[in-house]
C-alpha cells in the first residue's frame, strides 16, 4: 500500500485515494473541431512510461480533492505531489509538463 502525500492532508494510505491515470491531458476546448484520430489520442493514448510518470490522484476518502503527482513507475517512489494548477517542486520536472488541464492553464 503506497503512502501518498496529499497536498492538503499530508501522508495518507493509498486506500484513501483513487488513481486517475496520466495527468496533464487537457480536455480539448472544442472537441468537435478534432479529427477522429485526435479525439482517440485524447481519449486513449497514454505515455505509460517506465520511469517518471505524472498522474492524477483523488483523495476520495479524505479531503476529496484531485491533485497531481510525479512517481517513478519502476520504484513506485513519489517525487512530488502538487495541487491542480501548480507545478511540481522536483528536479526531474521537465518536458512532461508541456500540456496541462484547463485548470492549470488558467492558474
Amino acid at each position: 500500500m503506497l503512502l501518498i502525500a496529499c497536498p492538503y492532508c499530508g501522508n495518507r494510505p493509498e486506500t484513501e485515494f483513487r488513481c486517475g491515470g496520466q495527468a496533464h491531458i487537457a480536455r480539448p476546448a472544442d472537441p468537435g473541431a478534432l479529427s477522429d484520430a485526435q479525439w482517440a489520442e485524447y481519449l486513449f493514448i497514454r505515455d505509460n512510461p517506465r520511469g517518471i510518470h505524472a498522474e492524477r490522484w483523488n483523495h476520495v476518502h479524505g479531503c476529496g480533492r484531485w491533485f497531481n503527482a510525479r512517481r517513478d513507475t519502476v520504484s513506485d517512489r513519489f517525487l512530488a505531489t502538487y495541487k491542480m494548477g501548480e507545478t511540481p517542486q522536483s528536479q526531474e520536472s521537465n518536458s512532461i509538463l508541456s500540456t496541462s488541464t484547463q485548470a492549470e492553464a488558467r492558474a
Partner: protein
C-alpha cells in the same frame, strides 16, 4: 413547533442504545443520539460564520460536543449541532456568508454518529482505520474523512482525559461500522505475549 415535534420522533438506525462495552475491553462504543449536521462548502470562506470558525486548518475540529465544525478539506466543513439549533443555523451561516457562493446542505439524517472511548479506543479504530492515531499525528482536535474497514467515515477526536473519538458514517453503513467496532473490541487487548 411542528418541526420540533417531528424531530423528537427520529428513528435512529442504531436505536438509542446506551453505552456498551460488549467485549469488556474498556472501550465504550456508544451510538450517538439525534443530532443535526450540515455540509458546508465554500471556497473563500473568511474567518467565521454564525460564530463557527472557518479558518482552522484542514483536518481539525473546533467547538464542543454541542456544536462543532470539522474542516474536512480546503472548501468543505462538516458541522454538528444540537437539534435545537438546527433550524436557525443554516440561515445564520448563509446570512454571514452573504453573496459568496456556497452550499449548506442538511445531512442530519445522512450521518450517524458513534462515540468510541477508552484507553484502547485507538487500537479498536485501527482495526479498520489505516491512519496513525497516535497523539502526535492525531491529537485531540483532529478530524478527517477516512476509512474504517470497507466503510467511509469521518473520524473526530475530542478532548478528554481518556481518548474519546466520534465516528460519523452514512446511515446505511452504521450497522457495519458498529459491528466492526464491536468485533474489533473483542480481544483488542489480547496479545501473543503470555
Amino acid at each position: 413547533m411542528l418541526e420540533a415535534l417531528y424531530r423528537t420522533a427520529r428513528a435512529l438506525p442504531l436505536g438509542r442504545a446506551p453505552a456498551s462495552d460488549p467485549a469488556c475491553s474498556g472501550v465504550q462504543i456508544t451510538p450517538a443520539g439525534a443530532e443535526a449536521r450540515f455540509a458546508l462548502r465554500i471556497r473563500d470562506a473568511g474567518a467565521s460564520a454564525a460564530g463557527l470558525p472557518l479558518d482552522g486548518p484542514i483536518n481539525s475540529v473546533r467547538g464542543d460536543d454541542r456544536r462543532w465544525i470539522a474542516r474536512l478539506g480546503p472548501d468543505e466543513w462538516l458541522i454538528g449541532s444540537d437539534e435545537a439549533e438546527a433550524d436557525q443555523l443554516p440561515a445564520a451561516i448563509a446570512a454571514d456568508l452573504g453573496e459568496r457562493a456556497h452550499a449548506i446542505v442538511d445531512v442530519s439524517h445522512r450521518n450517524v454518529g458513534i462515540d468510541v472511548s477508552g484507553p484502547l479506543a485507538a487500537a479498536v479504530l485501527n482495526a479498520g482505520c489505516p491512519l496513525d492515531l497516535g497523539d502526535a499525528a492525531f491529537p485531540a482536535g483532529s478530524a478527517t474523512r477516512t476509512l474504517f474497514g470497507k466503510a467511509e467515515i469521518v473520524l473526530i477526536r475530542h478532548d478528554g482525559a481518556t481518548p474519546r473519538y466520534r465516528v460519523e458514517c452514512w446511515r446505511s453503513f452504521a450497522t457495519y461500522v458498529h459491528g466492526l467496532l464491536a468485533e474489533a473490541s473483542l480481544g483488542v487487548g489480547e496479545t501473543a505475549r503470555r
